[in-house]
Amino acid sequence: MNTIDPQNFQTISEASVSVEIETEDMTLNIGPQHPSTHGVLRLVAKVDGEKVYNVEPVLGYMHRGYEKLAEVRTYPQITTLVNRIDWVAGFSNEIPFIAGAERLMEIEVPERAKQIRLILTEMARICSHFVFNGAYALEVGALTPIFYAMEDRERVLDLIESVTGGRFHPNFNRIGGVKPAAGSGPTTKKNIQDLPAGFYRDTKIAMDKVIEAADKFQNLIGGNEVFHKRTKNIGVLSKETAEAYGVSGPILRASGVKSDLRTQTDYLPYDKFDFEIPIGQNGDCYDRWDVRTREMIESAKIVLQAIEDMPSGPLQAKVPKVIKVPAGRTYVRAENPKGEMGYYIVSEGGLGPYRLKVRTASFSNVSILPVMLEGALLPDLIAIMGSLDFVLGDVDR
């Protein structure tokens, strides 16, 4: 009722108190094109002033159809496609897929290959966490840490390129180990793709710089009082909610759950090395940032230990020329930098899988957005989305 009946009111103050102004919430489309959504994520948000009441994520703007593509391709071809799912940490996407095929074929991977895979996976983890640090600071407003992050990340990418040939899409894993030689002809077979000369020295320099950079971020970003005000007690995720929604990775560890798949895998030799698993206390945005920064330091320590004692041996186990994986089903999970990634391979003999299902970390992590964003202010929405660290290629596959 918006009309005022003048005869019924004695004083003006009574009149002004009883008039109701109808307002409706504004529907704000934090659209597919936005500086802070890490890709083409669309959030249809109902806001009242700055307070967000309801958020509905609309996914699918980046769907590329990996599972359909995998139905008509062979295992080496799928390995090339699969490092494009989480494009920031390319190497770690291939590992669970190859491990699944190896498990079905029951091949024993040589020790040297496993250690090289471990070194490259940890380097990919460092690269992904550098991108997170730089981009998260950019979304919160600090405009310089992204440049420091990219500079130190270049060294690690150059190392990955010197071993595998590609920075983001290494395509270095083969069923049975890593890529043994540059080709199959008589001279190219002798061009062994082992670690190049100077790798150990360059890796030591790069990892020392990574640890320095993580300290620099902890001082520049983590010590800043404005950053504390923007991220402490914002977006608190309790242990139970996190486990109920199936989030994984650093988000789960920041909420206090001590769960890291690296201790449960057998296809990479993590038990040989000594590292800690950082855990957070509150589950707010600051803890998620802190867990990832400390993980960067732990990964650098693992790589430094791994290059000390590298076992010698062949780079790839003996596999037949035409690889056919026997019939069976298997699911292999791995600790990607963004969370848990898994591949469910259904094989019926044949050159390629019959069906490949990809379980990506970011898809499950994005599902807690409507829960966490209720009642948040608009700048907090940006801070919370940034702290979840998802990539749209991972969400939409």
Binding site: M26, L28, H34, P35, S36, E50, A137, L138, E139, V140, G141, A142, L143, T144, F147, Y148, E151, L220, I221, N224, V226, F227, K229, R230, L377, L378, P379, D380, I382
Partner: protein
């Protein structure tokens, strides 16, 4: 008539030059802090890039979206730039080199600088864009909230100097021998710098622009010369607020141990040097801080800066009466 024209020309020249100096300092300083060389190929190792930027914006198409409120949209940049340029008229380069040595110099400066609020609010409102609207509304709250600490900090200086004319304030600092920043107004100096950063909407107070959420906030729909006017007026107001701060708190055109007859020579140099030093501190702050959230910004102003500046006025007044 001619001297009015000369004064107008001088103000325009000073405004543009100040904006150019601070653009170079901000962009080149930012690049060096980010470990990269910055604009390099434009000319002279990249130091004439503001000229290239001005030419670039001037030759762009003037796009006005269909649904905007046309007269309001077109006039919004004008309010902002008028309030920035008019301040150049009261800043003294030496006791005689000042465009208008008004008796109420500081009062005039603060009154004119608050005109920019209308420009920002109307720019946000008239662009037919929800994100610009949010930027404009945030700006309205922020600018009004931070006017008060700005004014109250200056009131402390006025009490200590017993005059509102800017030349008079510098003369009083010469009489005391020590600039006001070190002789009792240090709190007011810090409050003035924080409030000035907020008035210019620079990081850490750039929520209205909010680059990672609103991609330019209230300025999103502007293009070409209109955007250039907003962009330059930010640097102009930065220059003139730093100049006013160095006049009020750091002694302005005065340098100790130098003879007074040559003040027309070393006065401008001293003032510009002090302004550039203050500007450098603002640039370093911009590139190392994240931004405040809007409600944290407001609580900083209302709950912390205003009581502190009121306390400063109280203490200054008591000391003035007692001593």
């Amino acid at each position: 008539m001619t001297d009015v024209l000369i004064k107008v020309g001088f103000v325009a020249l000073a405004a543009l030059n100040g904006a150019v100096i601070f653009t170079i300092m901000d962009v080149k300083g930012a690049s060096w802090m980010q470990r990269r060389p910055g604009p390099l190929h434009v000319g002279l190792r990249g130091f004439i890039f503001p000229l290239a930027e001005i030419l670039k914006f001037v030759q762009k198409e003037d796009i006005i979206p269909t649904d905007v409120d046309r007269p309001v949209f077109k006039w919004a940049p004008a309010y902002v730039v008028i309030s920035a340029v008019a301040l150049f008229a009261v800043v003294p380069l030496s006791p005689t080199l000042v465009v208008a040595d008004l008796e109420l110099g500081v009062f005039f400066a603060l009154a004119i600088s608050s005109l920019s609020t209308i420009g920002v609010l109307t720019a946000g409102w008239s662009s037919a864009n929800k994100f610009s609207l949010m930027g404009g509304l945030r700006a309205a709250g922020q600018l009004i909230a931070y006017e008060l600490p700005l004014i109250l900090a200056v009131v402390g200086v006025v009490i200590q100097a017993e005059t509102m004319s800017l030349v008079g304030i510098v003369e009083k600092q010469i009489e005391w021998g020590v600039p006001f920043a070190f002789s009792g107004q240090i709190v007011a100096f810090l409050i003035f710098m924080v409030a000035a950063t907020a008035e210019m909407m620079r990081v850490p107070f750039d929520m209205p622009i909010g680059e990672s959420e609103l991609t330019m906030g209230f300025m999103t729909e502007y293009s070409g010369i209109r955007f250039l006017i907003f962009y330059i007026s930010e640097y102009m107001s930065m220059f003139v607020l730093c100049a006013i701060a160095s006049t009020l708190f750091l002694g302005g055109y005065h340098l100790p141990f130098l003879p007074v007859e040559w003040v027309n020579i070393y006065g401008p140099i001293s003032l510009i040097t002090k302004t550039v030093i203050l500007g450098f501190i603002l640039v370093a702050v911009r590139w190392s801080f994240p931004r405040f959230r809007e409600d944290q910004l407001q609580s900083l102003a209302w709950k912390f800066l205003i009581p502190a500046s009121l306390l400063n006025i109280l203490v200054t007044a008591i000391l003035k009466v007692v001593l």
